[in-house]
Symmetry: C2
Amino acid sequence: MTDQGPPSSALHTDPEYLAAVVDLFGVLAYGELMAFERLAADAAMAPSIDDKAALAGMATAEYRHFLVLRDRLVELGAEPQEAMQPFRDALEGFHEKTSPSDWLEGLVKAYVGDGIANDFYREIANYVDEDSRALVISVFADTGHSDFIVDRVRGAIQTDPRVGGRLALWGRRLVGEALSQAQRVAAERDALSTLLVGGVDRPGTDLAEIGRMLARLTDNHARRMAALGLAA
Amino acid sequence: MTDQGPPSSALHTDPEYLAAVVDLFGVLAYGELMAFERLAADAAMAPSIDDKAALAGMATAEYRHFLVLRDRLVELGAEPQEAMQPFRDALEGFHEKTSPSDWLEGLVKAYVGDGIANDFYREIANYVDEDSRALVISVFADTGHSDFIVDRVRGAIQTDPRVGGRLALWGRRLVGEALSQAQRVAAERDALSTLLVGGVDRPGTDLAEIGRMLARLTDNHARRMAALGLAA
């Protein structure tokens, strides 16, 4: 993947680019706040106190990411609440439509849903300036909840193999809903879309590269499902 | 209030005292984990993104306290999950019976409920050794959510004075439920109760001092209700 972003100075000289980056951090920040809320709700379904504590720990990590992103919005001269507002419906819609009905569905959602979101944001990071990219990468590097979830989900499938079929379907539904909300955001937020397709003074990417990006996202998703012991 | 606790060495020489302190940190730790969960659920009811972020921040503070208490349990040679387990029913019972029906009830519960719990734990801290006391006091010193809640609740009452009557009733119900769960814990957990009433080699407190303690708790509660603009 090549560095296709504009120089960081574009944040000060290109208002359209600044608007795009504010959109990006706005959607990321609200996504983290929702992730906090959802993981905390999953903690309430935990079968043991240790599991509850583990989920609560993951939730607080998301909240830390939220703070970092919110601070950057302020640095960019944006009003954080205003920057997040346009993405409320899409993100809340996603979470409402994929509300886990039990503990295991919550774990799969945290693993698969956050995984695909993180991959996507890191792809997008290739199209922004160096400062913005460093922030996105640092925020999404710090998500260490994989082993715990893999252990719990694999254990549950071992105990009752039928669980695997149900959770595999659930994983597919999560991706479907995520894609449908992502399309909605892309259609509604022109500024954000220009990060990928380019702006007046900025080159965008071509269709072939977007295709390769989708292939990478799909591959990684299949890899994560396999790690959980689920058919993608 | 006088320092009535045994020396810290009693943690190593008096198994009954150690059991009492493990009970104390067990109930505190699980209380913090539940407080995290509840504040995070309140965040989901927040009317604005800023309010949501504020509640999420309070929730993560409670989680930090939980970690400190859990670490101390480990230092004392206890298995944290085991130490918390005996208090699950009482604490979950309290939260189930006082599940806020809206955002304002959640705020009042956070302010009034945490306030009375914090006061009570600080009173208990007078009866433990210096090391344990320092930990309890440091954990409960760090709860900076008062101003935000006072502002929101007073604002809501100003907009619609009838809200004040409803929330005052709610505040009284919270205290009633808290007392009833506290009595349950005191009846079930002998070790914990001996912190107050004394053990084989430890003097306890007398009934007059317990009376004064209850008076202090009640006074502080009335003060907090008044700060919110509510009749106690």
